[in-house]
């Protein structure tokens, strides 16, 4: 594991703070609407629960592919639908928060091979024999993040259902040391819901080891 990387530039930190704050405001978007299209390999949808008002969202611009091979943490995002702005912002927040913890991380969408590899593990049927896709065999921790399938509003617009899982691989390992699989209704969403500090603290410990 590479260590001793340069500290983030001051402007980077300021950007990180701004992103983190903007992410907090967006974290409560989306509601746990039970029974609406659970992921293909997760447990059955839950019965009726509380509804929250949601707003339609715009689709985010596709981010430029990033070279993850030189970073301490490679964040690879798996999703079924084009990312909404709030979802892209959530990814940005995670990268920013890692920067605030002095973790050198970068994020990009999974390509077809990576997505297929990760989906198998999210379904509880991962195949470790082939190892990580070659595109991710770098020196750092690989962290897959999966977004739940979005929900369609009566207006025809789409709204996020939030985060649905994480897988973390150490360098040279073909099975994840962390696996978090969350039903689409569970709603582990924003940075204020304990998940990100919780996840980042684990990755921090791994990156430092």
């Amino acid at each position: 594991m590479p260590k001793g990387r340069a500290l983030p530039h001051a402007t980077h930190l300021l950007l990180a703070v701004a992103l983190a704050q903007s992410g907090c405001s967006g974290a409560s978007e989306g509601a746990s609407e039970p029974g609406a299209g659970a992921g293909p390999a997760l447990a059955a949808p839950a019965p009726a629960a509380q509804d929250e008002p949601v707003e339609a969202e715009d689709v985010a611009a596709t981010p430029a592919p990033a070279d993850l091979s030189t970073h301490e943490v490679a964040l690879v995002v798996v999703h079924d639908d084009p990312l909404l702005r709030s979802e892209q912002r959530l990814v940005d927040v995670i990268v920013a928060r890692m920067a605030m913890r002095r973790i050198d991380a970068a994020a990009r969408d999974a390509d077809a091979e990576e997505a297929s590899f990760a989906r198998a593990f999210f379904a509880g049927a991962g195949d470790a024999s082939a190892g990580l896709p070659a595109s991710l065999r770098g020196p750092g921790v690989v962290l897959f993040l999966r977004f739940a399938p979005q929900r369609e509003l009566s207006s025809g617009d789409r709204a996020t259902r939030g985060f649905a899982g994480a897988l973390a691989f150490r360098e040279g390992e073909a099975t994840p040391f962390l696996s978090l699989r969350v039903d689409d209704e569970a709603g582990w969403r924003g940075p204020d819901e304990q998940l990100w500090p919780w996840l980042i603290s684990l990755v921090r410990a791994e990156a430092a080891s």
């Binding site: 746990s32 509380q50 039903d183």
Partner: protein, 165 residues
């Protein structure tokens, strides 16, 4: 006259206090503790330290925790004779176990936990009050006090999702 006004003011104050005390408080979230069924899924021979350490960071003041044996739970879930991992249990498979628990209120959340620090592994299955399931596993990872506390926080986070007392 002034004395009479003072007495009347004092009586009014006493009446206001009595009225405030007698008024029933509207129900609010948190009025009832979360009812949790906790099952230790580790083998009998495994040490208990890890589970205890994880549950130390679980907010026990806000939850009533009931216990049940893992073999009984597997049997009630329909997996008494197979070796299906409890991480693959479906939410509804725990209904029978939940119905058997004697608790002050119906069980809200179910936690199945196999925490083995000596083997550097943890597996947890949490059914939230909204019946969504969170499955967490850590492998080849040192489970010290801090990591166990981290796991306890994750259990708590998932156990409270959708709780409306």
């Amino acid at each position: 006259m002034t004395r009479l006004a003072s007495i009347l003011a004092a009586m009014a104050a006493v009446l206001v206090v009595i009225a405030l005390l007698a008024t029933p408080r509207p129900a609010r979230a948190g009025d009832r503790p979360l009812e949790v069924l906790l099952v230790n899924m580790a083998p009998r021979a495994a040490r208990q330290d890890c589970l205890r350490a994880a549950m130390r960071s679980f907010p026990r003041r806000e939850a009533n925790v009931s216990r049940m044996g893992s073999e009984r739970v597997r049997e009630l879930a329909g997996h008494g004779d197979d070796d299906v991992s409890f991480l693959d249990f479906r939410a509804e498979e725990l209904d029978a176990a939940v119905r058997l628990v004697r608790s002050e209120a119906p069980i809200d959340a179910v936690i199945l936990l196999d925490c083995r620090a000596e083997e550097s592994r943890v597996a947890a299955w949490i059914r939230s009050p909204n019946r969504a399931v969170t499955r967490l596993s850590l492998e080849r990872t040192v489970i010290d006090e801090a990591r166990a506390a981290w796991i306890g926080q994750a259990l708590a986070r998932a156990a409270w999702i959708g709780f409306t007392p």
